[in-house]
Every structure is written in C-alpha cells, then in structure tokens.
Subunit: 165 residues, 2 copies
C-alpha cells in the first residue's frame, strides 16, 4: 500500500534514477517468483514507462520501441503493455487511454489514480478507503462491486506551489 507521502513523492522532484531502478528490480524479482519472463521488449517497455511519472499512449511507446529496433506494429506495444498490466507492473488509465508503470508492484493492484492536469504526472493513492465507501453505497442498492476504476483529475502540490491555477 502506498505510504501517506507516496503521493507527494511522486510529484515532487526526487532522485528518479533510483526510483526507476528500484521498481525495475522489484519487477524482475517479482516476475522470477511467478515464473514469468521479463523479455527484452517487455523490459524495455517497462523502462520506457519508468522514464517519467507520466502515462504514455500505446503508440507513443511503440514509436520508442520501433526506434530501438523492435517491431513497429501496434501489437508489439499492446502485447508488452498487456503483459505488464497482467502481472501488476503497469496500470491502464481509462480516462487517458494510456499506461503508467506501477510504482509499488505487488501491493495494491487497483489503486486510485491522481492525475495532475498541469504536469501530467500520475500518482497512485491507497484505494481501500475509497473502495470501502463505494462498496457501502453500492451495497445499499444490492449491488456487489467487483472491480472499481477511480481516477481523479486535479492539481498536485508541486504545481500548486508554482502558482498554477
């Protein structure tokens, strides 16, 4: 589960090199434990997503892969992305038709997303309290929630401090 300040850490300036390589290590370890293979395309795709905290469209990822000698047809990117999502290493953002690397693989695989409309960065927030509220409201109507999509658009602390309205 993300710490209370995992959100702020995402948006604030930080040693992103270390941030990315930590996630990559965790990902490799995690996959090894599942017997899944982090092949070159898949690894490179994850690295590309990890270059920033933004979400990227599949075709944006594809352009990068193609430029580096991988296939240049859509399924190449979509398959790698689907693999990452399936194994909890990336998330899909419905609002953006885009993908973002998961920053704490192995924890909460259906987090709430906070998308800054100014810097475009995406943070993952603990979904449990939100899911609880949703489940409660739904239960009053006899509805059983199985999966929830929670994506918030707004302004991050860093952008707010810089005076973005």
């Amino acid at each position: 589960m993300p710490h209370d300040d995992a959100i702020a850490a995402t948006f604030a300036p930080h040693d992103h090199q270390q941030c990315a390589s930590r996630v990559l290590d965790e990902a490799a370890t995690r996959l090894a434990g599942q017997g899944a293979r982090l092949t070159p395309v898949r690894r490179r795709t994850l690295e590309i997503l990890l270059e920033s905290h933004r979400a990227m469209g599949a075709y944006e990822v594809l352009d990068r892969l193609a430029a580096e000698g991988f296939g240049r047809q859509p399924p190449v990117a979509y398959r790698a992305l689907e693999f990452l999502v399936t194994h909890g290493l990336a998330h899909r953002l419905q609002r953006l038709n885009a993908f973002a690397a998961c920053l704490h693989p192995g924890h909460d695989h259906h987090p709430a997303f906070l998308i800054c409309r100014s810097c475009d960065k995406v943070a993952e927030a603990a979904a449990a309290p939100i899911r609880d509220a949703l489940t409660a409201v739904a239960a009053q109507g006899g509805f059983r929630v199985e999966r929830a999509t929670v994506e918030a658009l707004g302004l991050c602390a860093t952008c707010a401090e810089e005076g973005v309205a």
Copy 2:
C-alpha cells in the same frame, strides 16, 4: 442526489415507459430554463439512450439515428451526445467508451456508476461519500481533486438473485 433505493430501482423490473418519459419531461423543462434547444436529433438521441438503462456506444446511437432519417456520419451522433452530456442529461462512461442517459438530471452531475457485468445496466450512485474519501486521501499527498471518475463493475441484485455467478 439519488435516493438510497435508486440503485435497486434501476436494476429491478419497473414501469420503464414512465421512467423514461419522466426523465424526458424533466430534461425538456430543464433545458427550457437554460435557453438551450432540445432539437429533433438531440431529443431523439436522448430517447434512444432512455430506451434501456444500458450505456450505448456513439456508433450504435448513430446507426439508430441514421435509420430514422438523420445524418449518418459520426459527428451527428457525437455532437448530440456532447450536447446532452454538457447539459447534464447524459453521462459518458470511460470504461465502456459509451453514453447513458442521466436518470436524475439536475442533481449530482458527477455520480459514481455501477455497471452490472451480467445485464449491462448502469446505475448512478451518490458520489459524495466516495468523493470525500478520495479527496481526503489525495489531500494527505497535497493533491487537490477537481474531477473524479468512479466506475464500478460488478453484479446487481436482480442478476445475483437469478443465480448469476
């Protein structure tokens, strides 16, 4: 705001004829008050959405409109749908790339959606408690939520009673 049992009412069998015409009346009244025009295409589009409690894709709506003598090109449907969404008479569902009529126009324009995976119907739930939880979690990270997308996939009471797993 939806009543506690507005959710159940959506999924359970009911006098949908009356359900639809009530919404249509409210919509007309509401638009008149805003000086907006419920033209034939727009009205028909809303009626089509109101035929069921399901969400429809823009092209599905377009086919219907075209069959009834309206234009057969995508912008015809997208424009009518955009108008309805802008005026709070319909909602867009991100997960489904689809649109559904708003069942209580004028109340909570950013509800949480409950989508039944069995009967495909969509209900609107009170978003306030969920938004509060989300806002609180985000605030801990310094993030200010402006708009939130909350869409739950699950099973409605009616389908559950019918033994759908």
